[in-house]
């Protein structure tokens, strides 16, 4: 507005704006760099590859972030109205071409670079011989089923589902393969052996998510979606539902336990004995 000269190119305003941008940028970058809130350590080789791709992406976005915010801060301060004339230029084709190409190479390159990690988890399936675990999501619990010693999953029927009488996945007792199936509210897997998850849902869409695996997969009713991983570090890891499934979505929580092979075999035997 013309009649009020003072704030037109006010140094106070320019400086405040620039200082805020710089502070905000520095604080933000620091918190990322110092990993104050960060991923939990990955427990698979795949997870480490993902972390490496994150690092690359952070590097590129971090540089762009700092350059853009600092550039904005600098422009605001340097070119505030102090009575100078603005320099008339309508553009610069060379610069446009250069930074467009650079952006294309950087962005698309980053995307293509990530192909291998994605391929590993989704273009390729689990190797035969992987431990298969069926994951069933329902409002608002997870249930996990193992095939048992016979290696075969028994038949499930929706009509037989009854959480109250201890048959949450609707196992059909008429099928002999069902007898030795292990159904558990937590999932236990051996370390260093490939695990194949068969993910399904009984009612609405849920999502199976374990941070340390760097994996997430929607559990879609009507579909059986496969996912595989090989965990290397024993421990207990939280499972959180990651797709809005109703009022209990926030508490649809379970645990993934990774055990050394001997411990895992003992766990399996205990479960089979309990089944008898």
């Amino acid at each position: 507005m013309l009649s009020r000269r003072p704030e037109r190119g006010s140094t106070t305003v320019a400086l405040s704006f620039a200082v805020f941008l710089i502070l905000m940028t520095v604080v933000t970058v620091y918190i990322f760099w110092a990993k104050i809130w960060w991923f939990p350590p990955a427990i698979t080789d795949f997870g480490h590859e993902i972390d490496a791709q994150y690092a690359r992406t952070f590097l590129i976005t971090g540089i762009v972030f700092v350059a853009a915010q600092f550039g904005l801060a600098w422009a605001i301060f340097k070119f505030r109205d102090q009575g100078q004339k603005a320099t008339y230029f309508e553009g610069n084709n060379t610069m446009e071409i250069v930074w467009t190409l650079a952006t294309v190479v950087l962005f698309v390159g980053l995307g293509l670079y990530a192909r291998n990690a994605w391929a590993e988890v989704h273009f390729i399936g689990a190797a035969p011989g992987a431990l298969q675990v069926e994951v069933t999501g329902q409002q608002f619990v997870w249930n996990f089923r193992y095939a048992g010693p016979d290696g075969k999953f028994g038949r499930e029927k929706p009509e037989l589902v009854s959480a109250s009488t201890g048959n949450p996945v609707g196992l059909d007792p008429a099928d002999p393969a069902s007898k030795d199936d292990i159904v558990s509210p937590v999932i236990v897997v051996p370390a260093n052996r490939e695990v194949e998850l068969i993910i399904r849902s009984q009612d609405v869409t849920h999502s199976f998510y374990v941070r340390e695996l760097r994996l997430k997969q929607d559990a879609v009713p009507g579909m059986e979606i496969h996912m595989h991983f090989t965990a290397t570090t024993p421990g207990d890891y939280e499972i959180a539902c990651a797709e809005l499934c109703g009022l209990g979505h926030y508490r649809m929580h379970s645990m993934l336990t990774v055990m050394n092979e001997p411990d895992f075999e003992k766990w399996e035997k205990d479960q089979e004995a309990a089944n008898q």
């Binding site: 904005l72 070119f79 603005a86 230029f89 952006t103 994605w118 009612d203 869409t205 109703g246």
Partner: protein, 588 residues
């Protein structure tokens, strides 16, 4: 007074409407309609903020006593209902209306030199249809079971199976879908009007190459709306049929909900909804941001007293964003069970759409560079827009890679990303537009001092709210959780949630400062007697403030110059209005 007699030799003006209803309620004047949309958006944004305030209070203090809730505590389903309506009202009733139907309606005809939109009665109908859709949606709060809890994305089967899968999923969800379907109709009417007006009603000399960037963004946004809302309408109809007529478009068979077998549905696909919804949904978010980009470009140029850097590249970028916007919807579905090969293709396309966005950012900086920057409130918000767009846009680079999205999908990193762009940058675009155009619309200035206070509290506040959400996302905090109590890693993040909630409280309170400024300035603001207080170049600044009912008083303007002729060498003034005949331009 239907037949217009030829008034002999002199010009005969169409009579302005008389009577309160004709002038302010069922008006066909695009300026009144624009203000009506802005009022609807203003109402909606405060409702949306109130809902989010309640949400944030619950997240920070889940066991706190709130007397407005039955039993004194907010239940998880109440939280989810607040969240669903917050998202819906903000996306549709604020971000899709104010920047496009609000400012666009008011200023598009004027900036192109037209007397009104091509179809004024259709324009009026599109506003009242929007109003109806808002009323229907708000009714969802008041039916038994309350508002729906499925999020603004309303994924089936949760949104298709009815009350059996959750409170609010009965009548509330049905009203929500109907309200949304009505909104689709309203938007299609508006889009058609905008595009026709832009193509066919430009004044002499207003070539496409001289269109202000605001008009370009309104143009592309309208095209996006025209092509996307029909798809959403189809999806809504299919969902309603699944809910009310027993069809199974989205619901597979063999479902068991709390031990009850659903025998009356089979064979449908939840993914089909996601494809339809996001085919609309992705263009929708560009609808939300493009007009803000247009305003930012416009203001950065005007208040640096320099042309927009790379006008043609800017236009190309807007068109590129618009086109690519239809090609990337699958990036919302990487984890959905969709084909991983399609996912990868969508990923590369999504990385590509970052390129025109980057071009725009470079060009905004280029516009400022070498300029003569003036820091009025409109400009502050435009500058803030650039910073926020960079912050919000860069997180997209993570989310666009499916391998990385495996970790971040449906978590707070995503919430940070879309809030920074839609919930903040786009809003800053609106604030900037409002401070800029207020004197033209109302003949008064908004108070600059109060405005600056509003700006600083808001700018600092939104960074304090949404930057920490990235960290929550990196720590693995899923979204749409009503509280963070289920396990140790979530409980450890509670202090961050408290911080965010406090920042939100302060920032929302600061918007009351804005509201006060707005209302007070309307009543007693400093008068804007000059037509062109900002020394801007576009056509709206060549007519009185506020403009007469037919904008140009019956005279068609002629355009001689591009829209951003600032500090032209050889000219005495540092701006050349678009309509100023070349022989009238004062030489230095």
């Amino acid at each position: 007074m239907v037949t217009h007699e030829d008034g002999g030799g002199h010009a005969h003006q169409h009579q302005p409407p008389s009577g309160f209803i004709r002038k302010y309620v069922f008006s066909i004047d695009h300026k009144v309609i624009g203000i009506q949309y802005l009022m609807l958006a203003l109402f909606s944004v405060f409702v949306g903020m109130a809902l989010s305030l309640l949400m944030r209070l619950h997240l920070a203090w889940p066991t706190a006593h709130f007397s407005i809730f039955k039993g004194g505590q907010m239940t998880p389903e109440q939280y989810l209902a607040l969240m669903t309506m917050h998202g819906t009202i903000m996306v549709f009733m604020v971000l899709t209306t104010a920047p496009q139907s609000g400012f666009g309606n008011y200023f598009l005809p004027i900036q192109i030199g037209a007397a009104d939109m091509a179809f004024p009665v259709l324009n009026m109908m599109s506003f009242w249809t929007t109003f109806l859709s808002l009323v229907v949606m708000i009714c969802a709060f008041f039916v038994s079971g309350g508002a729906p809890i499925g999020g603004w994305t309303s994924y089936p089967p949760l949104s298709a199976l009815g009350e059996i899968v959750g409170p609010g999923q009965g009548g509330g969800e049905t009203l929500w879908i109907i309200g949304l379907a009505i909104f689709c109709g309203a938007s299609l009417m508006g889009a058609l009007n905008f595009i026709t007006t832009l193509i066919d009603l430009r004044a002499k000399g207003m070539t496409l190459g001289r269109l202000p960037l605001t008009c370009w963004t309104w143009f592309v946004t309208a095209i996006l709306g025209l092509l996307a809302f029909g798809v959403l309408l189809a999806a809504c109809i299919l969902l309603l049929l699944d809910r009310l007529a027993g069809t199974s478009f989205f619901i597979p068979g063999g479902l068991v909900v709390t031990d009850q077998v659903i025998t009356w549905h089979k064979g449908g696909s939840p993914l089909l909804w996601q494809h339809l919804f996001w085919f609309f949904g992705h263009p929708e978010v560009y609808i939300a941001i493009l007009p803000g980009m247009g305003v930012a470009s416009h203001l950065l140029s005007t208040f640096s007293r320099k042309p927009v850097f790379g006008y043609r590249a800017m236009v190309g970028a807007v068109c590129g964003i618009g086109f690519l916007g239809f090609c990337v919807w699958g990036h919302h579905m990487f984890i959905s069970g969709m084909s991983p090969y399609s996912a990868f293709a969508f990923s590369i396309l999504t990385m590509t759409i970052g390129v025109p966005s980057a071009i725009k950012t470079f060009n905004w900086l280029g516009t400022l560079w070498g300029g003569k920057i003036q820091f009025n409130c409109a400009m502050l918000f435009a500058l803030g827009f650039v910073s926020l767009f960079v912050s919000g846009g860069l997180s997209g680079l993570f989310l666009a890679q499916p391998a990385l999205d495996l970790y971040l999908h449906d978590g707070y990193f995503v919430v940070a990303h879309f809030h920074l762009i839609m919930g903040v940058a786009a809003i800053f675009g609106m604030f900037a537009g409002l401070y800029f155009w207020f004197p033209k619309m109302f003949g008064k200035f908004m108070n600059e001092g109060i405005g600056k206070l509003h700006f600083w509290l808001t700018f600092i506040g939104v960074y304090a709210i949404f930057m920490p959400m990235h960290f929550l996302g990196l720590a693995g905090n899923p979204r749409r959780y009503s509280e963070m109590t289920a396990g140790p890693f979530l409980q450890a993040l509670q202090p961050v949630h408290v911080f965010i909630s406090i920042a939100a409280f302060i920032t929302i309170a600061a918007q009351l400062i804005f509201l006060f400024n707005f209302i007070w300035s309307l009543m007693a603001g400093k008068e804007a007697k000059e037509e062109n207080p900002w020394h801007a170049t576009t056509l709206e600044w060549s007519i009185p403030s506020p403009p007469p009912f037919d904008n140009f008083a019956g005279v068609e303007p002629v355009v001689y110059h591009g829209p951003y002729e600032f500090s032209v060498p050889g000219a005495a003034d540092d701006y050349i209005p678009q309509h100023l005949a070349p022989n009238l331009v004062r030489k230095a």
